[in-house]
Symmetry: C2
């Protein structure tokens, strides 16, 4: 047994950061700990009654069809196409592919475009799931920096595109970046779409947070500037509606749909038709806008509370992003501090965050931390940030 499992346990196919992180976050089940380490939308705002109504409506109307195998649910694809339209993206239902959320979209696209050794471009600091589908697939990863105010460095992207061999994929988080909280500058978006088209590099736009803007002017997704079908948009109901639905979508050229479908089927066949129908019903009943308005209001107030608390306790000792949406604030401590090392003192003081080092491909952001404001009460935010500040001062 030893030899077989040793092989499996040592395979480098996937980064292990998340399981290390999981170990770390195991501490946070202590109910006395204020967790700023999550990434969930406000629990109080989940559309519990709306989804219950829609689930029951679907079971009554569709009967056993809501429980069998079924292909992609056409009415949901149509509703999503409308949603994209409302954000400035022209797309047909046939260009929408339903997934179990953006991680699955990333998996499918990395299998479509990347082989081991193929070059891919990602941000130096980015969501661990993006690292997993590129580094984890054995890609030769080129990283580009991200500014806390203007987002990804587009000059660096262009430079990475010009290097031979040409990259096979670029993956960006457009709005309210995980973990940085920043959005790509409006003027950079068109240029990114043009660069992808010029250099024939598929650009994956990972956008789970875009509809969660609570301040500032809306910016169209990069996909809105894509005339040549080189931008692959990933949208998710996880933050907009509920993570427990496990539902998202991809916008991709129709010519790739048979291949995408085959890849998807080889992974897990399809998404729950019951959940697809319930979400189509939710959108069809016009429930989304009211729900998003309430969610944005709550998230916006909590973000403001967090920014005020950071100013109160950490001015001079750290700097941080000022998100206009999403669920995260990124805090950079003075150089030399290590948020992973400080984590034990934080736990001792009953507060938790995610150490910044986990998000950096080359480990450059060990002096940073990601804080969540969306699913924490204002009192807990104030107290939590005060405790974090104490840890930082003593660090």
């Amino acid at each position: 047994m030893a030899t077989t499992f040793e092989h499996a346990l040592s395979t480098e196919g996937t980064k292990l950061e998340r399981s290390v992180l999981r170990e770390l976050l195991r501490f946070t089940v202590d109910p006395e700990i204020i967790s700023l380490a999550g990434g969930l939308p406000a629990s109080e705002r989940l559309p519990l009654e709306g989804l219950r109504t829609c689930l029951n409506a679907v079971l009554t109307r569709d009967g056993s069809r809501a429980l069998q195998y079924s292909p992609q649910h056409v009415p949901l694809r149509a509703r999503i196409a409308e949603l994209m339209e409302s954000r400035g993206v022209a797309c047909t239902p046939e260009q929408v592919f339903i997934t179990n959320g953006n991680q699955q979209g990333l998996t499918i696209l990395s299998r479509l475009f990347l082989d081991p050794g193929a070059p891919a471009v990602i941000e130096e600091v980015t969501f661990t799931g993006i690292q997993q589908v590129t580094l984890g697939r054995g890609a030769e990863v080129r990283t580009v920096p991200t500014d806390l105010v203007t987002g990804v460095d587009v000059d660096a992207v262009e430079e990475a595109f010009r290097r031979e061999p040409r990259p096979r994929l670029l993956v960006l988080v457009t709005d309210f970046h995980n973990p940085l909280g920043v959005s790509i500058a409006a003027e950079s978006r068109e240029r990114l779409a043009r660069l992808a088209a010029e250099h024939r590099v598929p650009l994956v736009e990972d956008d789970p947070y875009g509809p969660l803007r609570f301040a500032g002017d809306p910016r169209p997704p990069i996909k809105a500037y894509d005339d040549e079908g080189m931008v692959f948009y990933l949208g998710s109901f996880s933050k907009m509606l509920a993570p427990g639905l496990r539902l998202g979508w991809m916008v991709a050229p129709e010519e790739l749909m048979p291949r995408i479908t085959t890849l998807r089927e080889s992974i897990d066949l399809e998404s729950s038709t019951l959940v697809q129908r319930a979400v189509a019903e939710f959108l069809g009943q016009g429930r989304l806008e009211g729900h998003l308005a309430a969610l944005r209001e709550t998230h916006g107030a909590r973000c403001a509370t967090m920014l005020r608390s950071l100013e109160e306790h950490l001015t001079g000792g750290a700097q941080w992003s000022r998100p206009e949406g999403g669920v995260f604030v990124w805090v950079e401590l003075r150089p030399g501090l290590d948020a992973t090392e400080l984590f034990r003192s934080a736990i001792a003081k009953k507060v938790a965050y995610v150490p910044g080092g986990f998000f950096s491909v080359h480990g450059a952001t060990r002096n940073a931390m990601r804080l969540n404001f969306s699913n924490v009460t204002p009192e807990a935010i104030r107290e939590g940030v005060a405790r974090v500040a104490e840890v930082v001062r003593e660090g």
Copy 2:
């Protein structure tokens, strides 16, 4: 664009059979066509009201917790461990890993154990999803024959195990094989578990149909004979409860759980907590046994109808498996006939099946077809088999 997508479209990472098949089955949406091509449990027996009750109970009791992200649902793991116990498999809740169904379990295990070029053993005639996670992963596939009465040829398995380099994986469908309808002989099961242990080859037991036995004596899964943790059991609620739930599980050694969890997270994070909780509630309310009894009765009656119709119309012209459960009968026509070529005449006569060639790694079973009985009314079965027989006689 052309070059980039050409690469993606030509990538050999996944077999394309399914999309060819999909094209073929497109014909079957014609409501006048009797489709024996499906693989669904009886629609009339889906536990619509039971699941509705459980979904509502969970939303009332658990509130927003039923809609957030959540780890594997512990009560469901416990219920599944009891279910395994009832089938003769001793396992703890910690050895149960929730998946989105057996295709996802296959994907995870193939990523855990197989690299491109690594040897794997599968049946020469087997479920296309098993071909996708082995051939599609670039494995060096060794195939073993399967007998229509006694199941997989265990001598051939042993021979494949003895060849160097040692295989990294064996994948078998234990009960009511897809597409063959046969179950592995009782006496072969212990021997297979022993061979896997002796040769240190992980044995993946794909068993979505095991609980759907409507005749004959129950046989314990191979996993029941596994003393050394070398058998990985895959179970599914797709046929037992409802395909639209997209829920299944894996039984694996606890030491591999962190690695399995990381792999799963890299693919699509987790399964819907709402669905996990609803199924745990369904099992907890003791609803499973009554549901399975009704399902078995319906499937058994439909299978009997199909076997009688085959005897009436095809005696002398074909031979077929005699399943004691599951959802499929396998029909072998006289050598020289090609069921793929006959498909167009079948469609002209308003009947559909799945041509056998799709299930054979080396294309050896083009003179066979897979017929579904579970989700077809008795009248449609009689008429459908009569039409198939006509096609075969004229072929």
